[in-house]
Assembly symmetry: C2
Homo-oligomer: 474 residues x 2
């Protein structure tokens, strides 16, 4: 018996930094199987909710219910919101109405909304039926904000004061409501119409004497966002100003919620992941790679592959025409010309996409950017043309001894290369800006599409320069 | 006069949400030129430091000094750390030693270190000479943590208690030191050896009675990081657990600093930008695009362009060999085959790079991922091959009337396409994992390199299948 106690102690010791030394899920399942519930709870109480949620991914379906019910009540809700939506749905189906409504009481309303958005209609109905009347109306409102707007990521649980309250009254209020609020570190001051007029930080409250009036310690130039603002813009404000929360107001300037920094980080990560996916010609999906099925990956990847494959017909047709007309030796430089053009175009398109996405550049900057890319293109083109000429003469002509590679050929290829690089840089920076101007996501103009366009462009330029300028025809 | 007062009021009104309604820099410069300093200060005091720093970018060099000196003292340091390093250097050169040392007193030490890292040696010496002896030793220590480690982004200004202190003592201490600390919302409890043993939040302090002993309200299972941990891993912990600060301990478990959430967001954004740059074959640079000179962009982009251009010699050489042997008609499908292979490889490499970067996948997952990509590749390859066969017969043969496109050619191209897709998916997911395994950044194995490799692979596969399997030789 003493031995077992020691073992337990060791186990608890080990998890001081839980995410590196998590106990194995199977050890915990063994404790459940042997009905050692007290030990189970003592271990699980030391583990962060998000890690428990990940453990539940590995728990066999028949044990999920008991595993979840053994969690300390205050942890259960936190674990619930971190779980995969399939596991959530499974658990909800096992809850009685009473249990469901108890659990919902524990959740912040923005988390409830997140859960609802992933559930099938019948589960949504059951969730709404088991929410309090007041919460139901807020949930409905949250569900109606435009997609990707600040309204969809805000929480309605924040602390609000009037400017004539004292620090003491504020602290008393916080003590009473703290447990239900997502943060108490940023509190807001509103007037009689609930319009936002100031910010009072917990720091200011802690540093002021009890009888100070809030008006005297509140910051009155408060940065806020609107319910309809794009959530990415909101997240970028966190990055720019280093806040831990931002107030959200409606059209009339009334405070309706706050966005907290953890939600802002989630948005930044999601948006980066989406941009990465688009740049790689993948339909974005927020399921982690390792947990996506092969079929889902297939569905996310096939549309662009199909589209780009078929659009390559154009470059094929040009090449067919090219073949009968130009000297055969010119073909060996095609992969280099198309590849370098594609890479060069990717460089400027990805740069432009990121600059547009992070808000550091807008459509109005296009003339300046265009001119800058022109200069970059000329510099890159000139240097690469010189190196390419040297490389062709040295490697293709002299080292590989290809007699068909004449000086004229080397010059034609090098001039083409420079022209392609300049053109691809300009196309690469213009298309994302143009996409944004007509209301499309700039990221759809990412590398793969640019590459396909540049392939066509490269072939045409090569053809014109070789045939018309240097007369390298059959 | 009254009129002017009104104007000023309107101006101040407008900047309630400063980042959208910033006064124009030139209005402020006019105020300076007309020596209306009181008005200048009253307006500037409402503007967040980061926005003032951006305004300074537009201020002509001769006015920077006066503009900066008119800032309220407590704002000046905050503005200073947000400025571009060139402007910082310029201002430091204008400071007297006394002014410099006053300004340094206002900065958090981690910010001082950030500034030092961007300055030339003579400025660094001047900064160190004008720091207090104690600060100098901490700065030196911070400068010696390994590149990109938690030690380089942590701050040494945090609040520390012992477990036998009471809430009242803690609050008194906070009131005394708050102004010098980066956050007072997470405070830490250490033992006599300064080892981390617990976390006390400001929330817990505010909710507890004054005579409570900290031991009773501290959380003793604290998630921490080590000074040598990679800063990206640290930032991912913020994303995972939603903290506002994380304690940093040294090898002996002694608390040496904290990382705050705003620094974590910066790291996440920087790392995403770096990955984007590498995926687009650009040397990462943290200067915003719109402020980078054309020559700097050229320098960041030319190395990979050169490398990839020269390595395309290999595909050129294969193509040269190919040309004399295979039927000429096969050439028209080359852009499609190489392009689709490149896109397909990008899809899996970018996915793998992101999954490795966000910590959701490690090298140990390779066998599982490899098998998954194999299945995805077979699905994508099979579907694309069928569509490609149809497209070739319909468009190239029937619509464009190219007699050389026979059924055998269409089959050879389609089979090649399927094979290339499977191969490129496998190469795309394997190389980033392999890079990570030998200690390289997975992102160097990004699309451009994969594309170049896949080009070579595509040509070889096409050659073997066309010549050896289908006998499509001249």
């Amino acid at each position: 018996m003493e031995n077992r106690e020691n073992e337990l102690d060791n186990l608890t010791e080990e998890i001081l930094s839980p995410d590196e030394n998590l106990p194995e899920t199977k050890e915990l399942l063994t404790l459940i199987a042997e009905k050692r519930y007290r030990e189970f709870r003592s271990i699980i109480s030391e583990i962060p909710a998000v890690d428990i949620a990940r453990m539940l991914d590995d728990v066999p379906e028949e044990s999920i219910n008991i595993f979840y019910r053994l969690l300390p009540k205050e942890a259960a809700a936190d674990v619930f919101i971190e779980m995969d939506s399939e596991v959530q749905e499974h658990l909800i189906s096992l809850f009685t109405d009473n249990e469901l409504s108890e659990m919902l009481e524990e959740l912040y309303l923005d988390d409830t909304v997140d859960i609802i958005e992933e559930m099938p209609a019948n589960v949504v109905k059951r969730i709404l039926r088991n929410s309090s009347r007041e919460n139901r109306s807020i949930i409905n409102q949250l569900l109606h904000y435009p997609k990707d707007s600040a309204g969809t990521i805000m929480t309605t649980e924040y602390v609000r004061f009037t400017k004539d309250q004292t620090v003491e009254q504020a602290l008393t209020h916080i003590r009473r409501v703290a447990i239900d609020k997502e943060t108490i570190y940023n509190c807001y001051v509103t007037d009689k119409d609930r319009c936002l007029i100031g910010l009072v930080t917990a720091k200011a409250l802690m540093l002021s004497s009890p009888d100070t009036v809030l008006e005297d310690i509140m910051e009155d130039s408060v940065i806020f966002v609107s319910t309809t603002d794009d959530k990415e813009e909101v997240a970028l404000k966190f990055n720019k100003y280093g806040f831990i929360a931002l107030p959200v107001v409606d059209n009339e300037g009334r405070l309706v919620g706050i966005v907290t920094v953890d939600d802002a980080i989630d948005v930044l990560k999601e948006e980066a992941d989406e941009d990465f996916a688009k740049i790689a010609a993948i339909t974005p999906d927020d399921t982690p790679y390792v947990r996506q099925s092969a079929f889902n990956l297939f569905k996310a990847r096939i549309p662009w592959l199909l589209f780009l494959m078929i659009s390559a017909t154009i470059s094929g047709a040009i090449l067919g025409f090219f073949e009968g007309t130009l000297l055969p030796v010119l073909t060996i430089f095609l992969p280099m010309l198309m590849g370098t053009g594609g890479n060069s175009g990717s460089q400027s398109s990805v740069t432009a996409i990121r600059a547009l996405g992070s808000g550091e550049m807008t459509g109005r900057d296009l003339p300046r950017i265009f001119f800058k890319e022109l200069r970059v293109g000329i510099m890159c083109g000139a240097l690469l043309a010189v190196v390419s000429f040297g490389k062709i003469m040295l490697i293709d002509r002299w080292l590989l001894g290809n007699e068909a590679v004449t000086v004229t050929v080397a010059i034609a290829v090098s001039v083409t290369l420079a022209a392609i690089i300049v053109a691809s840089k300009l196309v690469g920076c213009t298309l994302p800006v143009a996409a944004k101007a007509i209301g499309l996501d700039p990221a759809v103009m990412a590398s793969p599409l640019i590459t396909t366009l540049v392939d066509v462009l490269a072939l045409l330029v090569y053809f014109v320069i070789s045939a018309n300028v240097f007369g390298l025809v059959v």
